[in-house]
Symmetry: C2
Subunit: 503 residues, 2 copies
């Protein structure tokens, strides 16, 4: 994530040295072993060590130089993947087991903006065993089937690779934890019970006869869909992931923060959850269907300003919640300047007062937009230690860990092998439009047989190469001679034929 956090690294607890290459770690589960892994709270990730005096270097070494296990990189391969000069595109080996659904993947390291590739990725098949039956009785081993979900995650780190690495290892397990209570409910076609007993054998209370209250606004109970339970499970999983990072940051396990874009396929539906500025689109029969939106200081301006307005103590006397179109000079006191507050989308003039000379909570445009002059993305995981430059003011209260979840029903359309869901970190989208991606989808896939499972990897590579460009004229340049992306670039291409169709 290029320049997303300005000068904030200095304020982070850990800032590592030059760590040795990290071999493929046996504690990063690979598909489909996740179902046997311990829950995310268990000490697979080392327990938080309050007041630990472990050297920051060791922590950095642990957190910053890993690549997704499915790339199966040797120590030599790992070094090549870490080479800013060559920027070789990495994909899973042709010879190994394919990713689920024959998913294509490619990545490339940045052009030097950070020591290591701070993007991470994960692709898993996750089995969920029910925690207990709806009736509250302990589950018999023979009782019903568990659930399986397919999972893809892209994590774009900033100010260090720790948060992205941790999220790539654990977020799907948090989702699994959240789904454990829903295993039976999701497989039962009747509407979800509104209330579940707390203790085994206690009577259920999900029938409408329990409705109370004379208030007519309560005259009926809300209908809650199975789909909205999955959405809620994913939302809460993001929150629990973020809380785990908060706990473990004290042990110096987590540095920086990350955007998270994840896809869950469960019971016929694709759930795309996005917190940050990565992006997902479906390209279906040439048509583009946006599956996410970006969360930036510009798109979330009013949420941020409202928070600053309602909780001025979060601004620490250093910032104003008002937005101005440029910095105000002290000599302009008393003049009238354009401004916007948390309620406005338009602009108006106001007389400049002393407190308007504070730095605005939100400023800048496009990729240069910043919250508190520091961070350019407003949702994601981690960042618990992030402070305003030259200050102790925390930024985390303004960041949200909650994703927006969009749902796509795979069963409502008969997909052909050329219909794909493309996920990319901002390294892709900064220099590539949705239409250009759709054109590349068409160009690359039509060059392969429909049943050639390698076509999706080829497409992911073409997308990454197209965003990176080639070295020319002192920079990485695109065919039109514009600058390519100097950021880390990671892309998943997920064919929408559904589970089993292409794998």
């Amino acid at each position: 994530m290029l320049n997303r956090v300005r000068s904030a690294v200095a304020h982070l607890v850990s800032s590592g040295g030059a760590p040795p290459p990290r071999p493929k770690s046996p504690d990063l589960p690979n598909a489909p072993s996740a179902q046997t892994a311990a829950p995310p709270e268990a000490p697979r990730s080392p327990p938080a060590r309050a007041g630990s005096s472990a050297p920051a270097k060791t922590v950095e070494a642990r957190a910053s130089f890993s690549r997704p296990t499915f790339l199966q990189l040797s120590p030599g391969g790992l070094r090549r993947a870490d080479d800013h000069a060559g920027r070789a595109v990495q994909s899973p080996p042709d010879t190994g087991r394919r990713l689920p659904w024959s998913t294509g993947y490619a990545e490339v390291i940045n052009a030097g903006k950070s020591r290591h590739n701070e993007d991470q990725a994960c692709c898993e098949v996750v089995y969920v065993e029910g925690r207990r039956s709806v009736s509250g009785a302990p589950r018999e081993p023979s009782q019903g089937q568990g659930l399986c979900f397919y999972y893809w995650g892209l994590f774009d780190g900033h100010a260090g690779g720790g948060a992205a690495e941790m999220a790539s290892r654990l977020l799907h397990r948090h989702i699994r934890e959240q789904l454990k209570d829903l295993v039976e409910i999701l497989q039962d076609p009747s509407p979800p019970p509104l209330c579940l007993p707390s203790t085994p054998g206690a009577p259920g209370s999900s029938d409408a006869s329990h409705l109370v209250g004379p208030q007519s606004c309560w005259s009926s109970q809300k209908e809650v869909t199975h789909e909205s339970l999955v959405v809620g499970a994913i939302e809460n999983a993001f929150q629990f992931m973020d809380e785990q990072m908060a706990r473990e940051r004290r042990g110096h396990q987590v540095e920086g923060g990350c955007c998270a874009l994840v896809v869950v396929y469960l019971l016929g539906k694709v759930y795309v959850a996005n917190a940050g500025d990565s992006r997902a689109i479906i390209v279906r029969n040439g048509e583009i269907i946006p599956m996410s939106r970006e969360f930036t200081p510009e798109t979330e301006r009013q949420r941020l300003q409202l928070l600053g307005f309602l909780k001025p103590e979060l601004l620490g006397g250093e910032f104003t919640h008002l937005e101005f179109p440029r910095r105000i000079q002290p000599k302009e006191l008393g003049q009238r300047m354009l401004y916007r507050d948390q309620n406005m989308t338009g602009w108006a003039y106001k007389k400049i007062e002393l407190e308007d000379l504070r730095f605005p909570l939100v400023c800048g445009e496009g990729k240069k937009a910043r919250v508190m002059a520091t961070i350019g993305v407003t949702r994601g995981l981690g960042d618990h230690n992030l402070k305003v430059c030259s200050s102790t003011l925390p930024i985390k209260p303004f960041l949200s860990c909650f994703p927006e979840v969009r749902v796509y029903d795979l069963t409502q359309y008969e997909h052909c092998p050329d219909d794909v869901l493309v996920l990319g970190t901002d390294g892709l989208w900064d220099v590539t439009s949705d239409c250009e991606v759709a054109a590349t989808v068409d160009r690359v896939l039509s060059a392969y047989e429909p049943n050639d499972a390698s076509r999706y990897t080829a497409l992911a590579q073409a997308l990454v190469l197209g965003a990176r460009g080639t070295p020319r004229d002192r920079g990485w340049r695109l065919p039109n001679n514009k600058l390519g992306s100097g950021d880390d670039i990671s892309v998943f291409v997920i064919p929408l034929g559904g589970p089993g169709s292409y794998s």
Copy 2:
């Protein structure tokens, strides 16, 4: 606004008796006299009388039984318009001066839910004289031209007619006040100055050389459009209108609250500002273009919950910011219930704790959705005295007076006489879909010659009649035998041929 506020009237300061019909008031300006009227703060509306002992009845008489002046109702006509049994449709007389743009208008009183019609309407041509020149020098009478805007407003009152009546008299003047500083700027094709001098003759500071700060997020100034200045002016006018109501409520001038849907046509663009659950659509060549969205406890759930979460003191220990799909019974303590918080769009289970037994801040669905079990609309003007039923807890902090403003550029399309902008209070939209309105537009307009200026009034009447229905089977019923709207219904039909085309 049918049943929008539950049992809240009892908590309002004024609750009138049976007032005499109110004659057309000379202090309600009619087009185009507004430019000569005093500014909204001046005592055209009687000054606030703190501690006034004026009988509530008088106030009610003043505020509740007026109809738009352009209807030109005689005392007898006013009584017929106030007849719940007949529910006669009211329109401006054919014999009088047409409304600007040959706008069509029709209204009908409710079926008995409130004593008077609590909708109000306004249609004006407003002249704006600049307050001063951009350079800060006082304006010479010869210096430049003022601006003219066309204005339409629909105000749907609840818990009394005072707020709607006041807004219909004054909101356009607040807009005029806000535009006064912009008269020169809006007519100058160059980008608006970011900063204006405060004192006559002081040097301007709008050039880019004043940029300061090493921060790269400030390396350029934001571009602010003329359009966004008009949007900002309208937004602030809504706020000033609301603040004026707050001040004057102490003198018992303002009872209840109102939704506000206004249209401003200025310099080629149509600005549609909506705060509440009225609706505007454009029907253009048969196509429907939504020009507003509704603000209700359901559509604003997350904003409301966030406020309750950040400012729990506003919940007074009586409400919880969490949403539940039905009321929880005390005996369910310890069980697990579906819930949503301010961050979630999906649902999840949580263990029921004592504070979950509080009433939810947001509950109910559709027209029965309520904030604090009381009000069914979350944006609008007034409601400063609104309290939770059987409580002193104020609801106003949860209500926003800020509209959403959408802009439609009239010059980007060559409009034909059948292209119209339809504004309606929820009495129309509760029983009529956008498509049904579009079908009525087609049916009615095609029955008239394109140059027959009465066709838009005929259309407005047809829309109101279609939503009201006819008395049958102990109720007002539509042709399909469903119940018609028992609410006040008001409709503007604005032809999009532009100023002068049809008038």
